[in-house]
C-alpha cells in the first residue's frame, strides 16, 4: 500500500513554522508600539452620530475628537474640569451663550482644516430627525449652533443648568462636513464613510476586516502631539471568554474588562500582564413591574403594593450573592446608580437586609404559609412571581438562581423566565413581566439616564416597571436644574434616592467595578472610567521593551 510521503508533512510543518515565526521589523525609538486589543463583539459602523455601541465608541474615540473632553476628575458640572481638544479655549458670552475657539492647528487626515462649519454641521446632523442619532435627546437644551468665523462657533442654550458644558461637548464628535455633506441624511446609517472614516484625532483608519479586526495607525502630524503607540488593532471574537483566552495566550495585549473573578485571578497572576481596576458604569437590579403585565392601565396584582415590595427588599441579602458572583468586582449600590456617578454615596439611606422584619411585614399583609408547603399564600393565591432573565448573561442567570433560592427560604416562590436577549428586551419594553433582572450602563452623570429610567418621563421608554412618585420626580428635576452648585445638587439627588429606596421599586443588586488587563510592555497606562481608551495617546512601550511585533513594518 502506498504510504504518504514525509515531504507532504514537512511542507505543511514548514508553512506552519513560517506562520508562527515573528519577523524582525525596522521601527526603533519611542513611537513603535503595537497594541492589540481583544474584544468580544464588533462595531456596527465607525460613525459616532449613528451608533451607541461601546465597540463603536472605543474604535472611534482615537479617530474623531470632541471640542473638549472630561478631565481626570470626571466632573461633569461646570466647565472647569474639562480639557481642550478641538477647541483651544472657550468663554461664556451670556449665561446661555457659549463660544468655542477652535485650535487653528487642527486638521482632518486628508489635509483639510477643521473649521467652525464642521462643528455647526455636526450639530445639525446629531439633531436631524432623519439621521435619528441616539444622542439627539441629549442635545435638546441646545437651541442653536452657529459660526462667527472660520474658527469660532457659538452654542446657544434654552436655559441655564449645571451640565450645559457637558452637554455641549460630551455627546458630539465633530464630523468632516466636506466629506459628509453630500450623504443623504436618511442614509447615514449605511454610508461607506462609516466603514473607512477620515477623522481628526491622533489615529487614522487603516483597515477593517469584517469579523476579524480593525487597524488604526498613529497620525504623526497630530496637532496635540504624536501618539507613542504606532498601531492600534482590535481583534474581534464572538465570545468574551475567547477574548480573555487570546489575552492569556499572548495573542492580544489588552482587554477592557475581565468581568468574572476567575478571569481577573488568571490575568492578574500572569507575569506578562498588569491589571488596572477602574469604576464601572453598570448597575444591576431586580425591577418590579408596578403595572399588570401587558396592561399598563391596571395595577400589578402583587407589586402595586408598596409594602409587599418593601418586604421583598428587606428579605434579600444582597451581599452574599454579590460575593458569590463578583467576588470583589462589584459593590452593593445605595440605589439605582453606578460607581461612575459623582453622587455615589454609601451613606444614602436604604432598606436593610432584615429577614425577621420582612417576615413580620409579610405576615401583617396576610401572606402566611397556611398549607405548610413552604410558600406563603393569601386568599388561596401563592406568593409567587416570575422573574425575567436574559439567557445571554451568565451573571444574571447565576444571580437569578441565587435569588430564587433566597426568596424560597422567605416563603416566596420565584419562577425564572429565561429568554434570549432579544425577547427579554421586547417583553421588558412591552411591560410583559412580573419582575426582571436588568442591567443599565450609565453615562458619567445621572442627569441624563436617571430621569429616563426612574421617573414618569421614562414611561414608554426605559422605565420598564412604571415606577412613579411625583416627589421623587420633583427632587430629580431640582437636582438636574440646580444652579451650578455641586453640594445643592448632591443634596437633591440624595433625597431623591432615599425616597425612591423607601418605595422599593426594585432590589438594587450590584454596581460593577471593572478590571482591565494590559501587557506589562506598556507603560503610562491611564484609564478613564467612562471611556477606557480615551487616554491611549499617552500610553507607550519603552524602547527596551519593544518586541518584534512592535517593530514590524507593514
Amino acid at each position: 500500500m502506498h504510504t504518504p510521503r514525509p515531504t507532504v508533512f514537512a511542507a505543511v510543518a514548514c508553512l506552519a513554522l513560517l506562520g508562527s515565526c515573528e519577523r524582525r521589523g525596522g521601527c526603533t525609538g519611542d513611537h513603535c508600539g503595537t497594541l492589540v486589543i481583544a474584544y468580544a463583539g464588533e462595531p456596527d459602523i465607525l460613525l459616532p452620530p449613528v451608533s451607541e455601541f461601546a465597540a463603536t465608541r472605543d474604535v472611534t474615540e482615537p479617530i474623531f475628537l470632541k471640542l473638549a473632553d472630561l478631565g481626570p476628575s470626571g466632573n461633569t458640572v461646570g466647565d472647569e474640569d474639562f480639557q481642550p481638544q478641538l477647541a483651544e479655549r472657550w468663554e461664556w458670552d451670556t449665561p446661555t451663550t457659549l463660544v468655542f475657539h477652535l485650535d487653528p492647528r487642527a486638521h482632518w487626515q486628508d489635509g483639510q482644516a477643521v473649521t467652525a462649519a464642521d462643528v455647526a454641521f455636526t450639530y445639525d446632523v446629531y439633531t436631524d430627525t432623519l439621521v435619528n442619532s441616539p444622542f439627539r435627546s441629549s442635545l435638546r437644551q441646545i437651541s442653536a449652533v452657529t459660526t462667527r468665523d472660520s474658527l469660532t462657533v457659538v452654542f446657544r442654550f434654552r436655559q441655564r443648568y449645571p451640565e450645559m458644558f457637558y452637554d455641549a461637548v460630551y455627546h458630539m464628535r465633530i464630523m468632516p462636513s466636506h466629506l459628509l455633506r453630500e450623504v443623504p441624511r436618511d442614509q447615514w446609517r449605511s454610508t461607506a464613510f462609516g466603514r473607512a472614516p477620515v477623522g481628526d484625532g491622533p489615529y487614522r483608519f487603516v483597515a477593517w476586516k469584517a469579523g476579524q479586526s480593525i487597524e488604526l495607525a498613529a497620525d504623526s502630524t497630530f496637532f496635540l502631539g504624536r501618539p507613542y503607540i504606532r498601531r492600534l488593532i482590535w481583534r474581534f471574537t464572538p465570545d468574551q471568554q475567547v477574548a480573555v483566552t487570546q489575552l492569556l495566550a499572548g495573542d492580544a495585549d489588552a482587554i477592557e474588562v475581565l468581568i468574572t473573578p476567575d478571569n481577573v485571578q488568571r490575568a492578574c497572576a500572569d507575569p506578562k500582564l498588569a491589571c488596572y481596576p477602574y469604576k464601572g458604569s453598570a448597575y444591576g437590579y431586580v425591577g418590579f413591574n408596578l403595572a399588570a403585565p401587558g396592561d399598563t392601565t391596571k395595577p400589578h396584582p402583587l407589586f402595586a403594593d408598596r409594602d409587599l415590595r418593601r418586604a421583598l427588599v428587606l428579605a434579600t441579602d444582597r451581599e452574599r450573592p454579590l460575593h458569590n458572583v463578583f467576588g470583589e468586582l462589584a459593590r452593593v449600590p445605595p440605589g439605582p446608580m453606578s460607581q461612575l456617578w459623582w453622587i455615589w454615596d454609601p451613606e444614602i439611606r436604604e432598606l436593610p437586609y432584615d429577614s425577621a422584619q420582612a417576615a413580620r411585614l409579610l405576615k401583617r399583609l396576610g401572606w402566611i404559609d397556611s398549607d405548610g408547603d413552604g410558600i406563603r399564600d393569601k386568599d388561596g393565591h401563592a406568593l409567587s412571581f416570575r422573574l425575567l432573565v436574559p439567557t445571554t448573561s451568565a451573571i444574571r442567570r447565576q444571580y437569578a438562581r441565587l435569588l430564587q433560592e433566597s426568596f424560597r427560604t422567605a416563603g416566596v416562590d420565584v419562577q425564572l423566565d429565561e429568554v434570549d436577549f432579544s425577547v427579554f428586551n421586547e417583553r421588558a419594553r412591552a411591560g410583559r413581566f412580573d419582575a426582571l433582572l436588568n442591567v443599565w450602563n450609565t453615562d458619567p452623570t445621572p442627569s441624563s439616564g436617571f430621569p429616563q429610567t426612574w421617573t414618569k418621563a421614562g414611561f414608554g421608554r426605559s422605565n420598564y416597571g412604571r415606577y412613579f412618585n411625583p416627589q421623587v420626580d420633583q427632587l430629580v428635576d431640582r437636582a438636574v436644574s440646580a444652579a451650578a452648585n455641586r453640594d445643592q445638587a448632591r443634596r437633591a439627588w440624595r433625597s431623591a434616592f432615599e425616597m425612591l429606596n423607601q418605595d422599593a421599586p426594585g432590589i438594587f443588586l450590584f454596581a460593577t467595578e471593572n478590571v482591565a488587563a494590559v501587557s506589562k510592555r506598556f507603560t503610562d497606562v491611564t484609564i478613564r472610567p467612562d471611556s477606557w481608551l480615551a487616554l491611549v495617546r499617552s500610553w507607550r512601550v519603552p524602547s527596551d521593551r519593544l518586541t518584534d511585533r512592535d517593530r514590524v513594518e507593514r
Binding site: P4, A16, G19, D186, I233, A249, D420, N425, E426, R429
Partner: protein, 326 residues
C-alpha cells in the same frame, strides 16, 4: 439525461425557495427585536421603535416578504440592521472563509477516512482494525464543539502550539501577501479544520471499511488475485475503484455536515465565516442576514447533492437509465 438534469435543477431551485421562505417567516415569527447590541445591556425602547419604522419592519409581514422576493430577483439581498451594510457584502466576506475551512476539513475527512477505512478492511478483525474501529466510533460520537474546545484548550491555551482563534495574525499578517503569511493562515486553519475534519473522517472510515469489505469479497477481486496481480494493485486499482462508488454519495452528504459543523467550529475558533455570521444574526434578529445565510447554505447543500447525483449518474449508467425512465 438532459431531462433528468433539468428536473433535478428545477427541484433544487424549488427546495432553495422553500428553505428561504420558511426561514423568512420563522425568523420573523421568532419573538424579539432586531437592532440590539450583542452585550446584555438594555436598549432604550424609543431607539428600537425609531429604527423599526426606519427599516419598514412595521409593515405587514406578507408585504415585507413580497418586497424581499422582488429584491432577491434583482440580486438584492437587503441591508443588515446590525452590520449596517448590504447583506451581499457581509456574505461575500464570510463565504470564502467558510469555504476554505470546509475544503480543508473535507480533505482531512476524506484523506484520513479513506486511508483508515482501507487499512481496516484489509486487516479485518486484526488488533489494528478493532482499535481503530473503536477510536473512530469514539471520535464520531464526539460533538464537534466539544472536540474544538478540547483541542483549543490543549494545543492553543496550554501548549501554545497554535493560535487561540481568528484567521490570521493581525499584526504580522493583515494581508495574505507572502509565504510567511500563507504559513500563518495555515497555522490558524489547522485546529478548526482538524476539529471538523476528524469527526467526519471517523464516519468516513467506518463507511469506507464496509464498502471495501463488500468489494474485496467479490468474484472479480478473487480472479485478479488468481491471475497473480500484486496485492497492492488488486486493492488500489481493482477493489478501491468500485468501493469508491458509494463514496460519491458521501461527498454530497458531507456538505450539510460541514456547514452545520462550521457554525459551531467557527464560533469556538472565532473564524469569521458564514456560521459565525448566521449565529450572530439569529441572536440579533438580523432578518435579512439570516435569510441570506439560509439562501447561500441551502444553495450549497443542494448544489453539493446535485453534483453528487450527477457524478453518480456518470459513474453508474444504471442510474441514468432509471432516471430517464422515471
Amino acid at each position: 439525461m438532459i431531462v433528468w438534469v433539468v428536473r433535478r435543477v428545477a427541484a433544487s431551485i424549488a427546495i432553495v425557495w422553500a428553505v428561504v421562505t420558511l426561514t423568512f417567516f420563522v425568523i420573523h415569527a421568532a419573538r424579539g427585536s432586531p437592532f440590539l447590541p450583542e452585550s446584555s445591556q438594555s436598549v432604550d425602547p424609543e431607539t428600537i421603535v425609531r429604527i423599526t419604522n426606519q427599516f419598514g419592519l412595521d409593515r405587514p409581514l406578507w408585504v415585507q416578504y413580497v418586497l424581499y422576493l422582488r429584491n432577491l430577483a434583482t440580486g438584492n439581498l437587503g441591508e443588515s440592521f446590525a452590520l449596517r451594510r448590504p447583506v451581499a457584502d457581509a456574505l461575500a466576506d464570510a463565504i470564502p472563509n467558510t469555504f476554505v475551512l470546509a475544503l480543508a476539513a473535507l480533505l482531512i475527512d476524506f484523506a484520513v477516512g479513506l486511508a483508515l477505512g482501507i487499512y481496516q478492511a484489509v486487516r479485518e478483525r486484526s488488533v489494528g482494525d478493532i482499535v481503530l474501529g473503536n477510536i473512530a466510533l469514539f471520535v464520531n460520537s464526539m460533538p464537534t464543539f466539544w472536540l474544538g474546545l478540547v483541542l483549543l484548550l490543549v494545543f492553543a491555551q496550554r501548549l501554545h502550539a497554535f493560535p487561540v482563534g481568528g484567521i490570521s495574525d493581525p499584526v504580522l499578517c493583515p494581508r495574505l501577501d507572502s509565504a510567511a503569511c500563507l504559513g500563518d493562515f495555515v497555522w490558524h486553519l489547522t485546529l478548526p479544520a482538524l476539529t471538523l475534519g476528524l469527526v467526519g473522517a471517523a464516519g468516513t472510515a467506518r463507511f469506507q471499511r464496509a464498502a471495501m469489505l463488500e468489494v474485496i469479497r467479490q468474484e472479480y477481486v478473487r480472479t485478479a488475485r488468481a491471475k497473480g496481480l500484486q496485492e497492492r494493485r488488486v486493492l488500489l486499482v481493482h477493489a478501491l475503484r468500485n468501493a469508491l462508488l458509494p463514496f460519491i454519495t458521501l461527498v454530497g452528504l458531507a456538505f450539510p455536515f460541514l456547514l452545520t459543523g462550521a457554525v459551531l467550529v467557527e464560533t469556538v475558533y472565532a473564524w469569521p465565516g458564514m456560521g459565525q455570521l448566521a449565529v450572530r444574526a439569529i441572536l440579533q434578529r438580523d432578518y435579512y442576514v439570516v435569510t441570506g445565510a439560509a439562501l447561500v447554505t441551502s444553495t450549497m447543500v443542494v448544489l453539493g447533492n446535485l453534483i453528487a447525483d450527477l457524478l453518480y449518474a456518470v459513474a453508474d449508467p444504471r442510474i441514468r437509465v432509471r432516471g430517464a425512465g422515471a
